[in-house]
Symmetry: C2
Subunit: 256 residues, 2 copies
Amino acid sequence: MAKAIAVANQKGGVGKTTTAINLAASLAASELKTLLIDIDPQGNTTTGVGIPKQDLPATSYDVLIGTKEISQAIQPTEFQGLHILAADKNLVAANVELIDVENRQTRLRDQLATIRDRYDFIIIDCPPALDHLTLNALVAADSVLIPIQCEFFALEGVSQLIDTIDRIRESLHPTLAIEGILLTMFDDRTNLTRQVAADLKDFFQDQVFDTVIPRSVRLAEAPSHGKPVLAYDMRSKGAESYIKLAKEVLARSNRT
Amino acid sequence: MAKAIAVANQKGGVGKTTTAINLAASLAASELKTLLIDIDPQGNTTTGVGIPKQDLPATSYDVLIGTKEISQAIQPTEFQGLHILAADKNLVAANVELIDVENRQTRLRDQLATIRDRYDFIIIDCPPALDHLTLNALVAADSVLIPIQCEFFALEGVSQLIDTIDRIRESLHPTLAIEGILLTMFDDRTNLTRQVAADLKDFFQDQVFDTVIPRSVRLAEAPSHGKPVLAYDMRSKGAESYIKLAKEVLARSNRT
Ligand SMILES: Nc1ncnc2c1ncn2[C@@H]1O[C@H](COP(=O)(O)OP(=O)(O)OP(=O)(O)O)[C@@H](O)[C@H]1O
Ligand SMILES: Nc1ncnc2c1ncn2[C@@H]1O[C@H](COP(=O)(O)OP(=O)(O)OP(=O)(O)O)[C@@H](O)[C@H]1O
Ligand SMILES: [Mg+2]
Ligand SMILES: [Mg+2]
């Protein structure tokens, strides 16, 4: 039975897509069958693993709206053990179209239930908003992984996200857990980074992952080659940190 | 008669808020009456100029939904010549609530018309999405300033934004112009930055601003003190680059 993790934070540019791609690829590299789900209309996860967004047979939009079953829309990637439910810009319309649909917030959860037994992990990349797409992911997931840059605006938004998670627990999904808080683009040379990191550790205590993702240009270069960093530059700091994160996620999963 | 510029890009974390705050503050510092409008539910522009988001008398949500006139919601900041229409998290609901409202995409334009004569510039900070909030800003503005990081995912999203601008020109706002493409968080030590910058200049030609905003930690520190960088550290590279941008925007405005 797969564990489903939503990678979410409404603050933009904090490393959601980079984390979803590289965590999923690191899990797949350890022989775990992994499904990556892209529900961001930008489709960055889709291109980041080398899938062209034109002429896709089916996408996460079709699955959410209900014109395709998820099993018909999932496709393999060139990376062993890693499958993807791709996204395209039709998703922009989903936010509006989902308004009139019955059980609009459980569409993804209901679809995932039909294929969960085929995977060990399901990783969902969310858009930078607390919209119906992100809500669908939070309802469908077992836990939420929150990437965060150690900067002021990113810190400001966390409480809104935690409020949203609490609201979902009260209504649709009482067992939604926090997988962890991941510090990304970490540059410990600046006071700002050290100060925000200290604030986050004070507030979230052991929910903050031990693994910290350093700022590393290899992570920003890899997607332009359509590859996770593991396949682009195995020896880079970026690749090592996501392998370490995968190990930590596995250790936490075995504990619970 | 004020010139209204929307600062928009659906890619997250590219420097929209940082640009909106510091361009507005630089214009205000050159004795131009400037109104900053925050329509992002994160409210980063609001806290970035030192306005607390709790207990606001009125916000951009009230103006969009129609329960307050814009003239009742605008407030001064502590910076000479700089006013703000603040945002709070109620805006998250606006995307859904605006669906059933008449003339939902021209709400902001209609409201701005009532106060345009009081300002020289109006700068609108948008959320990281092509949603009804951003559409309202694009319809209300004379032009769009597009901040962009020189990275792969940011490059990928520009064509979606240009498509949206074209659609708005065909329907609601035929004269919507592109104010310019602004390269932000520029670090010319990496190949990736130089390559993406070259691609952007090839594609957008002289629509790319001569001014480039360097990566500068002072820009990231300033909002935690509730100040534009001009007021936080006048001599920093960040402050100088936004003063230069304000001069370039003024020169372009006089030309048209
Ligand atoms: N650790 C890192 N070091 C250097 N660059 C990084 C790192 N993590 C992400 N990046 C780069 O920073 C930018 C933002 O990251 P990313 O797109 O993953 O964030 P996001 O949260 O998914 O953004 P959005 O909110 O738009 O979905 C991208 O260009 C990415 O390549
Ligand atoms: N030139 C710069 N140098 C260093 N840091 C910067 C620079 N510009 C912005 N930042 C920082 O990078 C982060 C992202 O910038 P900002 O929040 O302005 O982007 P945004 O596009 O408004 O994000 P969102 O999509 O969430 O609205 C912030 O923490 C900001 O302080
Ligand atoms: Mg992303
Ligand atoms: Mg912003």
